[in-house]
């Protein structure tokens, strides 16, 4: 059945990830919706949450956040955007990835029009996202079984559809971008950057009054206009149609370009001249003085340099911006954090209070290590993919010990994370100096440098799993682990989860170094587990059969 058409074959390729993402997000929503009535049981708790809303408006618009639907929509308004990662990866792999592998040459040797092929692949993606929406909707509705809520199955399905729509938008962006670049990875990286920019653009109007017109440029803005779990707010059909229109327009443009360009080539932008091939003379020279070619470590650094630059801009920029956010809303935040049992719990993870700028910033700063850990996920994926694609075979035909090859790559990643952390430190210190938000220098150093072991832990786990699992499964698992860790520290204290459960999250051990400095024992736990994962990775890599 699955091999009857390109559409069905593509759908078959999507079945595992779509079930994984659907079940993951659906179960998360079910747990949250089931538990929220307990969290919001007392009038005091509800009042505290309501008071908290405006201060965190930059994160998501607070609407009826003292109801389970409102609270879930608010708290997960932004985080559900991680769902967009899968369509980005899938859509860049669909046409551009298959061109890279050469499999599209074979596929197009059958009597099948290019446009038909591309349309079937796009249709498969949309179908998969629809299935995802239904899974999320059904599971979210299942969470209401024992909770008193004011929304029904139709609303939870619409909630799923809204997420699927925003995911489809970024999938379409990825498909469009991949017509202009030679590599799948580049297209995915650019689209991830576009996603980040769109998230920030959407935030702008909630931070700076009168900037609605800027946020309207972002598809995320239209995603946030629908809140199906809040019946009084409802679903904005127009906004959903805007997302659908963007998806259709970008997908159609991508298919149009794909049909017209050379297979394996990119769309030639007007004004970008190319040297005619006939003018080129063969060169027999070798590069001179290229330091990146001197060793596995140096080459790995060369490979990681460009992604490091982009991630540095994102992480350091985010951290500096958080300082500015604290400056903008310091007094409001301080009073709320001190009076809010929910946020007190959240901050208490590191054993702290909210009485200072550092305390407030500390609560927001948790996103910086998460971003750095996400960078580590992308780099462990690259190792895993190189292993799977056989790119290490020729390197290992040279007299380089396997363990050196692996540790060389890991050391380059470690160097990159140190560089990102140091530049984040510099950016945050500069922002602190410019805005006048006083921060303890030593603790700021602790907060930024403590991110390094966390990122390396994630990478080491990814490296270890690559010894047994395919790259896609490995990356999926590590990403899922990261999401779970985040959910535990973000949600656990509010839901009164036991300390033993909170300790399962690596982020728990990060604590609030901006406030309390380095907690050596906690950092040592991360270092120890990371070292054990790396040792396991090395042991496995030294012994395993290399993929053919």
């Amino acid at each position: 059945m699955w091999f009857r058409s390109v559409y069905l074959k593509t759908l078959r390729d999507f079945r595992v990830p779509i079930l994984g993402w659907g079940l993951g997000l659906g179960l998360l929503m079910a747990v949250v919706i089931a538990a929220l009535p307990t969290v919001l049981a007392t009038p005091a708790a509800r009042a505290a949450v309501v008071a908290l809303g405006p201060a965190f408006a930059w994160f998501a618009e607070p609407v009826k956040i003292d109801t389970p639907g409102g609270y879930a929509t608010w708290k997960y308004g932004l985080t559900v955007l991680v769902v967009a990662i899968w369509p980005i990866l899938a859509q860049t792999a669909t046409l551009r990835g298959e061109e890279e592998k050469g499999s599209l040459d074979t596929l197009l040797s059958v009597p099948l029009a290019r446009a038909r092929l591309a349309v079937e692949k796009v249709a498969a993606m949309w179908t998969a996202l629809l299935v995802f929406a239904v899974i999320v909707g059904l599971l979210a509705f299942a969470g209401t079984a024992k909770a008193s809520v004011d929304f029904g199955l139709g609303d939870t399905i619409l909630f799923g559809v809204n997420i699927a729509l925003i995911a489809a938008v970024f999938g379409a962006v990825a498909l469009f971008v991949s017509q202009f670049v030679q590599e799948r990875r580049t297209a995915a990286g650019i689209t991830a950057g576009v996603l980040l920019v769109c998230v920030v653009l959407d935030m702008v109007h909630r931070v700076e009054p009168g900037t609605d017109w800027i946020s309207r440029l972002s598809p995320v803005y239209y995603y946030n206009l629908s809140k199906p779990l809040i019946p009084s707010y409802g679903t904005n059909v127009g906004a959903m149609l805007v997302q659908l229109a963007i998806t259709v327009a970008l997908s159609a443009a991508a298919v149009w370009l794909f049909v017209r360009r050379d297979l394996g080539d990119t769309v030639h932008l007007p004004g970008v001249s190319r040297q005619p091939k006939a003018m080129r003379r063969p060169v027999a020279a070798l590069p001179v003085g290229d330091w990146t070619l001197r060793s596995v470590y140096a080459r790995s650094l060369g490979m990681i340099a460009i992604p490091t630059l982009w991630w540095t801009l994102a992480i350091a920029g985010f951290s500096a911006w958080m300082v500015d956010v604290v400056k903008q809303t310091a007094s409001q935040l301080r009073s709320i954090l001190e009076g809010s049992p929910v946020m007190k719990d959240f901050i208490r993870i590191g054993g702290s209070d909210a009485a200072s700028n550092s305390g407030i910033l500390s609560a927001l700063f948790i996103f910086a290590p998460i971003l750095l850990m996400s960078f580590a996920v992308t780099q462990s994926n690259r190792w895993s993919a190189d292993l799977e694609d056989g790119r290490l075979e020729l390197v290992l035909s040279t007299p380089q010990p396997r363990v050196n090859v692996m540790l060389g790559r890991f050391a380059a990643l470690a160097t990159a994370t140190v560089a990102i952390s140091l530049l984040t430190l510099a950016a945050t210190a500069l922002a602190s100096s410019l805005t006048g938000v006083a921060l303890d220098g030593g603790k700021l150093i602790a907060a930024t440098l403590s991110m390094i072991p966390l990122a390396l832990l994630v990478a080491a786990i990814g490296y270890a799993l690559s010894g047994w699992l395919r790259a896609a499964v490995d990356t999926g698992l590590v990403s899922f682990l990261l999401v779970i860790w985040f959910v535990i520290v973000f949600l656990g204290p509010g839901l009164k989860w036991p300390d033993a459960t909170l300790r399962l999250s690596a982020l728990y051990y990060y604590g609030t170094p901006l406030l309390n400095g380095v907690q050596i024992a906690n950092i040592l736990v991360i270092v120890f587990v990371g070292a054990a994962a790396l040792a396991l990775a090395a042991t496995r890599f030294v012994r395993k059969d290399l993929a053919a």
């Binding site: 890279e100 030679q182 590599e183 080129r280 063969p282 060169v283 027999a284 020279a285 070798l286 590069p287 290229d290 070619l293 001197r294 060793s295 596995v296 080459r299 490979m303 694609d389 056989g390 790119r391 075979e393 020729l394 390197v395 290992l396 035909s397 040279t398 007299p399 380089q400 010990p401 012994r543 059969d545 290399l546 053919a548």
Partner: protein
Amino acid sequence: MTAVIKTEKLTKDYGSGRGLLDLELEVQEGEVFGYLGPNGAGKTTTIRLLMGLIHPTAGAASIFGLDCWRRAVEIKKVIGYVPGEPSLDPNLTGGQILEYFANLRGRVDRAYLKQLIQRLDLDTSRKFRHYSTGNKRKVVLIQAFMHKPRLLILDEPTSGLDPLNQQEFDRMLIEARDEGRTAFLSSHVLSEVEKTCTRVGIIRDGRLVRVGGVAELKDIRRYEITISFAQPVPAETFEKLEGVAEVERLNDGRTVRLAMQGAADAVIKAAAQFPVVSLTSYEPSLEDIFLRYYEPDGKASKETAGVV
């Protein structure tokens, strides 16, 4: 002579009957050993076991007396390797790839490296992703030869090369052989094996079914004689003769094609009783021998049993 490559009951079991079984093989110093077999026979598995990229399920393989798995790093100092499906960083130029591998290997004579680049006419300024299949093959060939290794392990080395570059590769291989270096190459290009190899091994379904010198293999007494007579001749004339394996009478009734295995003396004497218009003898090429080994089960082994 010293055995450069030695395998003892080397086995790699992938399950479902796939893999390599009890391979016993020796390749002597200075030999160019051709390793033949159809797709999935176990050629690449053997090569990857020798390279220490995968470890054996049972048995052992050694190169220069060193265990291929445990002493892989030492062995690779003296090996040049061409994988069957080379995968390299698509963003590096050919020149960058060669410089990188020269650095990883160490002690590479850059002048000789440039000479190889010129011999194979490689444009080193292009990115690997933009190379044609043939040019990609050139890059991996150059990196395999650039440090003048004592042993070359080459998996389908000329796949994708144009005839001119195939000839240049043949010359490079013969030069290596003349310098006393050893090569182990798998190939489907049998003419190339005939030209460059001193010995050949044939592998089928994971088992080595035949090893011998190229000349020895061609000496299998299975060949064809086609005789045209002036008038029709009864086919039975040749059927019971010594050395005749099969008789085929062609459509005109005056021509017979004889599949021979052994001396032709009896056939010549029998044919002499009739007026002969023409007589041609066709000696098998290595390709014919190779294909015979892959005829349906039973047939090949029966016909070649006891030969060589």
